[in-house]
Each structure stands twice: as C-alpha cells, then as structure tokens.
C-alpha cells in the first residue's frame, strides 16, 4: 500500500503539471465587470455593521456569478483536543496557521534523500491554500458539534473495512480498480458535497433565470441545477453527481441532490471512500455574505453509513482570474504509470521467486 501511495504521488506530478498551467494561465486576464449586467443594485445603510447587500439579478435573486475558490488549511475534522471549540480567536489564527502550514507541507527534510526530494518536488504542484478559512472555523465539519464524522453504522463500518481490504489487494490490477479521481471520472471538488482537494479548487458559477451552473475545475465537470419545475430522474437512474434541483429560501440558494451513483469505488469526500448508497441525500446552501465571499454549507444524509447526518461549511473566496481548462483524462500519464509500475514489481517478484528455487 505504501508503495502504491508513492506511485499516486508520482501520478500527481504528471497531472500536477496541468495544475501549474492553471496558476500561470491568468496573467493576461482583465477582470471583467462582473456585476454591471445586474440592474437594480440595492444599497442600504452605509454603517460598517450593516449587513452587506448583494447585487441582484433581473428576477431579484442575489448574483453568485464569477469564479470562486475553496482552498484553505482548515481540516475536515476538528482535532479531538479542541472539543466543542468551533472558532479560533483572531490571535489564535496566526499561530495555528503556522502550525498547519508545517503539518500540510511535504517539503521536509526528515525522510532521507530520496523521500525528501520526492516530497519537495511534489509539493510544488499542490495548491491547497495557505490560510485557514475566513470563517476561522476549527474544522470544515460543523455538525456534529464536535466537528467530527458521526459514528458509522455497523453496516457502514463493514463496507468501509471491506473496501479498504479489497483496495489493499487489488487497486492496481487494472484501470477500473483505481479510485475514480485517478481515472478522471469524479472528484471531491465537484461533489456534491463540494470538498476541496490538494489543487484545482476553483469553481465558475453561471446563473440564468432557470439554471444555476457550477463548473468545477477538477476534473472539469459542470453541474447544471434547474431552478424551475423539473421532474426528477426516475429512481433507478443514477449519476456520479446525482440529480440536483434548486430553490430559493430568501437570498439563500438551496440545492437538493439525490440519485447519486455509488459502487465500491465511489469517491465522495476526502475520507469517505466507496461506501455510500441509494439512501444518500445532500442538501447544499449557498449564501453570498460579502462581495468576495460565499458561505457554502452541505448536509449529508446517509443513514446506511452514518448514524446521523453531518454538515460541512466552507468559505468560497472570489477569484478575479478565469478557470483554465484542466484536461485530466488527456494528460493522465499517472494511471498508466501506476499500472505499469505494479506490473514491473510483479515481474521482479516472479523473477526473484524463480531465483530462489
């Protein structure tokens, strides 16, 4: 397994190259007038404590259009020792940020020359953020109140263990045995729920009177959420990104998703491999709370796997640069590398076996 992780890192090198292109890309971009097309910008009180009033679309809803980024150093689960502490104070933020940068960085000098070099090189391709989330939260999970996944059901635990055991033995047997994100088929970033990864945490939102479209940079996947009457997919039709429908609750866009496809390889969130099921439902809430901020919440209801629903909250920060094309599958040298590496190791082992006879 350890060896395989090494190979995944190498895989990241290759697809990371495109991620770098994504950073370099936007130099010629002139930020366009994102809100000018929106008539009737309402301005209320100018007092600093006043709630920020969003620009509005012609049909009166807040404008979410533009490019947004979810990277941050905030962990998914809260460190156990913090108990029910939900927020860092402003003073604590600086110290914690330093600590977290160190924890997350692979550029260390404690593994011997080869490991150190490999890690430092890989670090170059990561873009996981350098600050903790603007909401100063101690974890991305905000419910349960301890900021950690709720306990799994016995059935969930069984599936989790079986999946892990299977992956340990077979994940390099063939392309279809690799995780979905390695095969460029799905990514935690695209969701739902939309969970940040190590890079490519950008989203482009385009809003029309009938639709809310979210393009996830990773692995370039667009979720088109109908906002008007739209009959749901039949129950037996599943998609990796499910079937989403949206409606407004005041200024908050609420998106409900069902019909999520699952199998023993579904990749759903950073820590949630392959065990979701038909019962899975996700409710997302998008609230634009400042000119450069969307607060995104998602509640995951999965009674087969978890004893309780759980909720994450992420700040989505406005970006003035465009999302650049991430051609994941087209540049997927990593998948071939992982498989040919495994075949080479088998060959070597077989030769050694012969030698011992």
């Amino acid at each position: 397994m350890k060896e395989q992780l090494g190979m995944i890192e190498r895989h990241l090198i290759h697809i990371g190259f495109l991620a770098l292109a994504a950073w370099l890309a936007p130099v010629c971009w002139t930020p366009t007038v994102a809100q000018t097309a929106t008539p009737a910008v309402r301005t209320k009180s100018k007092s600093p404590t006043a709630k920020w009033t969003p620009p509005r679309t012609a049909d009166g809803h807040p404008v979410f259009e533009g490019v947004w980024n979810s990277s941050s150093l905030t962990p998914l689960e809260r460190p156990v020792e913090l108990g029910s502490k939900e927020f860092y104070s402003e003073e604590e933020v600086a110290a914690y940020t330093q600590k977290r940068r160190k924890e997350m960085s692979r550029e260390r000098r404690d593994g011997g020359a080869e490991a150190d070099l490999g890690r430092a090189y890989n670090e170059e391709w990561y873009d996981r953020g350098t600050e903790i989330g603007r909401n100063r939260r101690t974890s991305r999970i905000v419910d349960p109140p301890n900021g950690r996944f709720p306990p799994m059901t016995p059935e969930g635990q069984k599936r989790f263990d079986e999946t892990r055991a299977w992956l340990d033995k077979h994940s390099t047997d063939a392309a279809e045995d690799q995780p979905l994100y390695v095969r460029c088929l799905a990514a935690s970033q695209a969701g739902p729920p939309m969970l940040p990864g190590n890079y490519n945490n950008n989203y482009q939102i385009v809003q029309t009177p009938g639709y809310f479209a979210i393009l996830s940079e990773q692995p370039h996947q667009t979720r088109i959420v109908p906002l008007t009457q739209h009959s749901p997919l039949p129950q037996d039709v599943k998609q990796w990104m499910g079937d989403s429908r949206g409606h407004w609750e005041g200024d908050t866009l609420v998106v409900e998703t069902s019909n999520l496809r699952f199998n023993d390889q579904s990749k759903f969130g950073n820590q949630y491999d392959g065990i979701a099921d038909d019962n899975l439902r996700v409710t997302e809430r998008f609230a634009r709370t400042a000119a450069d901020l969307i607060i995104y919440r998602a509640t995951i209801i999965d009674p087969t796997v978890y004893t309780k629903p759980w909720t994450i909250e992420l700040p989505l920060q406005k970006v003035t640069e465009p999302v650049y094309e991430y051609a994941c599958h087209e540049g997927n040298y990593g998948l071939a590398g992982i498989l040919s590496g495994a075949r080479a190791e088998e060959k070597k082992a077989a030769e050694q076996n012969l030698g011992h006879r």
């Binding site: 063939a174 392309a175 385009v206 087209e330």
Partner: protein
C-alpha cells in the same frame, strides 16, 4: 456542411489527412474520449446546453464533460493552448459571434481524419432563426493546413421535449481498455 463541398487542404496536409483516415480506429482523439475541440463539439451526436449568464456564456456539452466559457466582457488573449480553446464573444445585432483561438493541435474535425494545426482560428456565428432553430456557421482558418479559410454551416435544433436535460456521460471509462488494457494484471496461472 462544408461550403463549396471541399476542404481546401495544402498538398502535404491532404496527405496527412489520408493517413489519419487510414488509422482512424486508433488515432481519432474521440476514440480515446479526449476533449473534442471547437467546432467539433458542436456537431457530435451529443446534446449541449447553452447557459447565458450576465457576463459570460457557458456551453456544457454532453460528450465527455467538455465545457467552455465564452467571455462576453473585454476580449482577452489565450494564456496558452488548450483542447477547447479560448473563446471571446460579442453580439452583432442578434447574432452571437465567438472568436476562438488557443486551440491545440490534438483535436480533429470529424471521424474521417480532417485535422488542423495549433494555428487554428475559428469564428463561430450563432443565430436564432426561430425559437427552436439555430443557424450555426463556423469560419475555419489555419494557414499551416489550408490554402484559404473555409466555412461550415448547419442548422442546430433545440431539444423540444419536456424536461430535456444533459445526462452524465463519463466517456473516459469506456476507453480505459483501449488505453490501459495492455497493463491489466494477468490471471495467475
């Protein structure tokens, strides 16, 4: 759909086209589920959805999650080449005109091996003829491959059925055997 009936290849390029045609079952980028480029994305046998935002127009294609965002603000230059290119749009009356540059040389125009270089420049014109019918025209210019610019023109029909929608089509998983099948673990003897 080609105006004049024939694509004006330069002599050497015509030769390359023939080779492409002969080896199309293994080298057509579509067979590997690679992004289709512009204008091929428009006329593949898959639907697409146009999302008309306030400062950009997104086109999401049913094939392989291909997507492009047309910048309707101040035109900007392609930062570097990509599969779906860099699109700047503007209105000429009721016609949406999209100028596409920054296309790489990896895509084809069709399954017959018609191809281009990375000097490709495409100007698309979308015009509604009635509520369910678009007139689509693309002018294709590539001095490395063609002796002069040429045009394609075709009608595009709206999916008028109730609840028409793009369904998820993960093309990549269908080409894994072609691309990685030789690396499959052999059944132990």
């Amino acid at each position: 759909v080609v105006e004049g009936g024939e694509i004006p290849y330069l002599p050497q390029a015509a030769e390359k086209k023939k080779q492409n045609f002969a080896s199309r079952w293994t080298v057509d980028p579509e067979i590997k589920c690679y992004l289709p480029g512009v204008p091929r994305a428009t006329y593949m046998p898959f639907p697409f959805q146009i999302l008309q935002g306030s400062d950009s127009i997104m086109i999401a294609y049913g094939y392989a999650d291909a997507v492009r965002t047309i910048n309707m603000g101040k035109p900007s230059d392609a930062p570097l080449d990509s599969w779906m290119g860099w699109s700047n749009g503007h209105w000429e009356g009721d016609t949406l005109v999209v100028d596409v540059t920054g296309l790489n040389d990896q895509t084809w125009f069709d399954r017959a091996g018609d191809f281009h270089s990375d000097a490709l420049h495409v100007v698309e014109r979308y015009k509604l003829l009635n509520k369910d019918l678009l007139d689509y025209e693309a002018t294709i210019e590539d001095p490395m491959v063609f002796s002069k610019p040429w045009k394609i023109n075709m009608p595009l029909y709206r999916h008028a059925e109730k609840n028409a929608r793009l369904m998820e089509f993960k093309c990549a998983e269908f080409t894994e055997e072609l691309l990685y099948g030789n690396l499959r673990k052999k059944a132990s003897q």
